[in-house]
């Protein structure tokens, strides 16, 4: 097991910067992982202080994805920075299939130029030979970009290293609780508070262009739903009806919000058109209906309902609410479904009275398989490429329970990794993670 202790970087922006620290624990990658070596990049810049260790960030990204087994730095004895200097036999003996090497030139004033090569050690082929421009302060983003490029070249699916995570932290400040809705890079860096409140915050949901979050806040005493533009911090109160205002979820085209409201006296699923704020009621049952999730094509809404006695996943037609149909069959408690981007499977909370684990449900053959150990795992969401599932879990440290985020790699429809890695915050609880969609390039 490897451990990195990372201190927060100073983030530029309007929102507050958290002063916490995050520890990222990565378990060993599984058998299916691709063996790769990322050779330390040469720092040939005239700016003496290296703002980011680019190759280290690339290594961490690839390793944390669970899809790669990266060669430890101490085993990297030869350190070529140009293709001409590569001794392929050395890398074959180290049992790696691919190597990444590169060099950083330019400086903090005119900007940096990062050259990188990806080589197949077995064949000697060059798979990638690219140059990335970066302004000062942008090298970390460039490193994520390089990792995304390597990931896609070798796995044929886009990477997720330039995406972000939203999550909620709860910390004790004096004699009060402080809840923060945070947004951080996918590796936990540069966390910023989008909202802070002394009242509970929950259920953050991303807009499909990753520019906005919808969430539930108790700041007015009762639950209400806000949407908030992340760049400007501007927010709007979109639902504050009598009763529960919960579980917002953006439609795939971003024009509508599915939500759970109990303004009729009972908790039901609604769809709100964001431009007009007009709502359509999709369910009508005395049971609890909540946690709506859109299928990627927007045709169906999946939701949790206990209309059959205990919570199970159902779906309705998203336009009309017609044809409610039960989806989950295995087990007594299945809730909070989230769809894979390719629609082939969903991830959900699967439990009995004392243990709640994350499970994958294959929608073609209806096979359900747990991918976490419990006992109180919740809030699962897929990485935008479907190759990782992020969820909230708890661990006990010297008798004190602490909420942490965990992520487990998914190797396709049939299999998931055996182990998860964890994002652990030094102080307070972390919960309610939501993985952003692929982000617009903004570097």
């Amino acid at each position: 097991m490897k451990r990195w202790l990372m201190a927060w970087l100073l983030a530029v922006g309007t929102a507050a910067v958290a002063d916490d620290e995050v520890v990222i624990v990565i378990d060993q990658a599984g058998e299916a992982a691709v063996p790769i070596a990322v050779v330390p990049f040469a720092w040939s810049s005239s700016t003496a202080v290296r703002e980011t260790d680019v190759s280290q960030v690339v290594t961490n990204d690839l390793s944390r994805s669970g899809q790669f087994r990266t060669l430890p730095l101490e085993d990297i004895i030869e350190r070529p920075t140009r293709v001409a200097d590569v001794n392929y036999g050395t890398w074959r003996r180290l049992n790696v299939d691919y190597i990444v090497l590169g060099e950083v030139t330019g400086d903090a004033v005119i900007g940096y130029l990062v050259r990188m090569d990806l080589l197949n050690v077995t064949t000697g082929d060059s798979l990638l030979s690219l140059e990335f421009r970066s302004r000062a302060g942008g090298l970390r983003y460039t490193a994520h970009h390089i990792a995304d490029t390597v990931y896609e070249a070798l796995l044929d699916v886009p990477g997720f290293f330039r995406t972000r995570l939203a999550y909620v932290t709860k910390a004790r400040k004096g004699d009060k609780d402080e809840y923060s809705l945070m947004v951080a890079d996918a590796d936990g860096f540069e966390p910023r508070a989008a909202v802070r409140s002394s009242e509970p915050l929950l259920s953050p949901a991303w807009s499909p262009d990753a520019s906005m979050l919808a969430y539930v806040s108790f700041e007015q005493g009762n639950s209400s739903i806000y949407t908030q533009e992340l760049a400007s911090g501007q927010r709007q109160l979109v639902a504050s009806y009598k009763g529960i205002n919960g579980a917002p979820s953006f439609s795939p085209d971003g024009s509508r919000l599915a939500l759970a409201l109990s303004r009729s006296g009972n908790l039901e699923i609604y769809v709100m058109e964001l431009a007009s704020r007009r709502t359509t009621k999709l369910t009508n049952h005395f049971g609890i209906d909540t946690e709506p999730a859109w299928g990627p094509e927007g045709r169906y809404i999946y939701f949790t309902s206990d209309r059959g006695g205990r919570p199970q996943i159902y779906r309705v037609e998203a336009r009309t609410g017609a044809q409610p149909e039960r989806v989950t069959r295995d087990g007594e408690y299945n809730a909070r479904a989230s769809m894979a981007p390719d629609n082939s499977q969903m991830v959900l909370v699967h439990g009995n009275d004392n243990s709640y684990k994350i499970a994958l449900l294959d929608l073609d053959n209806n096979l359900l398989r747990t991918i976490s150990d419990g006992p109180l795992d919740e809030s699962p969401s897929f990485a935008p490429n479907g190759r990782m599932v992020l969820y909230a879990s708890q661990r006990t440290v010297s008798g004190r329970r602490q909420g942490v985020l965990s992520a487990v790699p998914i190797y396709g429809a049939a299999s998931a990794g055996q182990t998860a890695h964890q994002l652990i915050f030094a102080e307070g609880d972390i919960r309610e993670p939501a993985w952003s969609p692929l982000r617009q390039v903004n570097n």
């Binding site: 509970p200 929950l202 259920s203 108790f218 005493g221 009762n222 639950s223 009763g243 529960i244 919960g246 579980a247 759970a260 109990s262 006296g265 908790l267 609890i288 209906d289 909540t290 946690e291 949790t304 206990d306 205990r310 919570p311 408690y333 809730a335 909070r336 909370v349 439990g351 009275d353 004392n354 709640y356 109180l376 919740e378 809030s379 708890q394 329970r401 309610e432």
Partner: protein, 177 residues
């Protein structure tokens, strides 16, 4: 029962008034009986019986059922257990007799299961209590339900004794009269 209590109180008040009236029209005795003069004020204005749930004096009085403000539930259940019938009855009686009083019923769940489903469960518990109190004499306009789901646990630990204390509806008087 309520009316009977009222009648007894009225009779007692009438008797005291009659006694006072008598002293006005009759010549004052030369040697008045000290017992009457030293009658303690608590008897002239006595506290209502502890089981008179119409009275504000009993709302926060030790020993009164009205001071019991938390209803606990079984796991994943919103049925009110029979042992709470008297407590809900007392609050219904109070609200029925005090039209200005207002109550918020805060519904809560334990941490097991998903947060949004637990919001629903907390509300369902609140609604069950609200319906019972309403049926027993309060009016719906005096009652409001808010669910916090698992967000505001009464205690923070991870076993059944603790979970049991978190599955609850809290009766909060926002206006007493």
């Amino acid at each position: 029962m309520k009316n009977l209590t009222r009648l007894i109180l009225l009779a007692a008040v009438a008797a005291i008034l009659a006694a006072c009236g008598g002293t006005q029209t009759q010549p004052e005795p030369a040697d008045p009986e000290p017992v009457q003069r030293d009658r303690p004020p608590v008897e002239a204005n006595p506290l209502p019986p502890i089981d008179d749930h119409t009275k504000k004096e009993n709302l926060n009085r030790e020993g009164s059922l009205l001071t019991r403000r938390i209803i606990y539930f079984d796991f994943d259940q919103s049925r009110v257990k029979p042992e709470y019938q008297d407590v809900l009855n007392a609050h219904a009686t109070y609200l029925g007799a005090n039209a200005g009083a207002r109550v918020t019923l805060e519904g809560h769940a334990d941490e097991r299961g998903t947060r949004e489903y637990n919001l629903g469960l907390g509300e369902r518990r609140g609604n069950t209590v609200s319906d019972l109190v309403d049926a027993q004499g309060a009016s719906a306009s005096q009652l409001s339900v808010v669910s916090y789901g698992e967000e505001r646990p009464a205690s923070n630990c991870s076993d059944e004794s603790c979970w049991g204390s978190n599955r609850r509806v809290e009766i909060i008087y926002t206006r007493e009269q």
